[in-house]
């Protein structure tokens, strides 16, 4: 086994330590700087509680929709290829290259008053911009490809021999889907779901534009943190930040497990 020089290892550890480790420790230190009592009192902040609830609701709607779309589109792209799916395969990744601010802007251009669908929506009495549906749409946009990017390569690699074998054994398509297809992409999907969830609860720029950032109405947790810092209410901001940091650590652990399972599966295949 070739060994890398120790100096390289130390350099990398320093780089990651300064860039990631220090900020991570810092956010915890800041949130607990006044002790646990103050931290738990800060948790009962009315604005923040509303923001947490809103973020949770947005995730509850946006994540399942994107998982459904991601898995479905992946199956369609891989298993029923056509000229159309090749186009779909390309545009599905486009949201990743778009600045969140632009995401917010484009949604506003269509769904706000004066936008393309503005008058239609007004006639129907549907409020999309500066309300819950707009936030959900922005969240879906920014996290759209995260599931399919995990699932598509896996489906390509797996091929459909397992499904064909199952169908020669007399299994119904529905049974094949649940017992073979879905099971083989479980961990890749879990990985995609965690990434989607992380993106949805962490989105800032796009949500900032489409929500209008109204406290106690359309302010998500990320917006609440931003607002606290703008109002020099740094401590309250750090309490919110540490909640999100803890959520992302939990997601990281799930990601780690998902990747580990994926790798095990690959070893088994090899």
């Amino acid at each position: 086994m070739r060994r890398s020089p120790v100096a390289l290892r130390i350099a990398v550890l320093c780089y990651i330590g300064v860039l990631i480790g220090v900020p991570l420790i810092f956010v915890f230190q800041q949130a607990f700087i006044h002790g646990f009592g103050a931290f738990f009192r800060a948790l009962r902040d009315q604005q923040m509680d509303h923001a947490i609830l809103l973020t949770a609701l947005v995730a509850l709607v946006a994540v399942p929709l994107n998982v459904l779309f991601g898995v479905g589109a992946s199956l369609w792209i891989v298993r029923h290829p056509s000229r159309f799916t090749r186009v779909l395969d390309t545009i599905i990744d486009v949201p990743l290259a778009i600045s969140p601010i632009i995401v917010g802007l484009v949604l506003e251009l269509v769904y706000a008053q004066g936008g393309w669908f503005g008058s239609l929506l007004a006639k129907l009495g549907w409020q999309i911009m500066f309300s819950f549906p707009g936030i959900v749409m922005a969240s879906i946009f920014v996290s759209l490809p995260l599931v399919s990017r995990q699932v598509i390569p896996l489906l390509r690699e797996l091929g459909d021999h397992q499904e064909q074998t199952a169908s020669t054994l007399g299994a119904s398509p529905l049974r094949i889907f649940f017992t073979i297809t879905l099971r083989s992409i479980t961990w890749a999907t879990a990985y995609g779901v965690s990434l989607t969830l992380a993106r949805v609860i962490g989105e800032y720029g796009a949500v900032l534009i489409v929500s209008g950032n109204i406290a106690l109405v359309t302010q998500t947790l990320t917006l609440d943190i931003g607002a606290n810092f703008e109002n020099f209410n740094n401590y309250q901001g750090f309490v919110g930040a540490v909640l999100l940091a803890m959520a992302s650590i939990v997601l990281l652990l799930i990601l780690g497990v998902a990747r580990h399972r994926e790798r095990k599966r690959n070893e088994y295949l090899a």
């Binding site: 369609w76 545009i91 169908s167 800032y204 990320t222 810092f229 940091a245 650590i249 780690g256």
Partner: protein, 288 residues
């Protein structure tokens, strides 16, 4: 959503009116699948395609001249240049650092490696605004290290470095893992020094993945907002990145200008992504 792939129904059979229960089920399945596809396309259209079309329309609905004026405003040019410079520096640094990190993760063995491997993904998982406020506090006016880099290109670059770190690591790492040592060993039996082996054998093998990862990082960096907005202070002409500028235009109801700069930024991001990907593919082709 979509049913699992059944055998394709022969065309003749599908066209004849469904008579048996089996055929009826098949036709229903096709209808269900058709409906699912329609739903997927509608979803994508309402969320992505129509809004993007609206962006382009808004950018050009007062003519090419007005688009060009909006993009070439001094404030806009300064913002775009600052964004590109910072994104370039950050992704260049991360190309090197990411390669080194992937190398250490794959070719080295040490205690705490698992933690290092897990923590690499933190910038993916941590909300950008959290990163933004942390860097603002760490390296701002209240800095515990007495380092204030707010309002400078350095601050912006550091924030971008944080956000884009995982891209290169995660694209290089699997390729490095899949490399057998044989080509490297062969080079060393031919007398090549370790440095030469790395330069002539290992690095070329990793180059496509490194380019792809750096391209993704670059595209992400160009549009970054949440992590940058606090530390940059958003001083027009000085420390305002493109996304901040678009935001300020959008909230001051200069929608057409905002759309114009947004189109410019999008085109740059997509062009860079394509250039990086095409180069990576060209390099990879020889290695098939």
């Amino acid at each position: 959503m979509l049913a699992a792939p059944p055998k394709e129904t022969p065309i003749a059979q599908a066209k004849s009116p469904p008579s048996t229960g089996r055929q009826l089920r098949r036709v229903n399945r096709r209808r269900r699948r058709g409906a699912a596809k329609g739903l997927a396309v509608t979803y994508l259209s309402l969320l992505v395609l129509i809004p993007l079309a609206a962006l382009v329309t808004n950018a050009f609905n007062h003519g090419l001249g007005s688009f060009w004026r909006a993009v070439t405003q001094t404030e806009s040019i300064d913002a775009l240049r600052l964004t590109l410079v910072c994104a370039f520096i950050a992704s260049a640094i991360n190309a090197v650092a990411g390669l080194a990190t992937a190398w250490v993760l794959v070719r080295d063995r040490f205690v705490g490696q698992g933690i290092l491997n897990a923590i690499i993904d933190l910038p993916f998982a941590l909300p950008t605004v959290v990163a933004g406020v942390i860097f603002y506090t760490l390296y701002g006016p209240l800095s515990p290290f007495h380092v204030d880099i707010t309002g400078t290109w350095i601050g912006i670059t550091v924030a971008i470095m944080f956000v884009t770190l995982p891209f290169t690591v995660r694209s290089v790492q699997p390729v490095l893992e899949s490399l057998t040592f044989n080509a490297e060993s062969a080079a060393s039996t031919l007398g090549a020094s370790p440095a030469r082996v790395f330069r002539t054998i290992t690095l070329p093998a990793l180059m496509p993945a490194l380019l792809t990862g750096t391209g993704l990082a670059f595209a992400r960096a160009i549009g970054e907002y949440g992590s940058v907005v606090f530390i940059s202070n958003n001083l027009p002409y000085r420390s305002e990145v493109a996304s901040s500028y678009i935001y300020s235009l959008a909230v001051s109801d200069q929608t057409n200008s905002a759309a114009s700069v947004a189109v410019a930024l999008l085109v740059i991001a997509l062009a860079l992504l394509i250039i990086f990907n095409v180069t990576a593919q060209r390099l990879a082709r020889n290695r098939a």
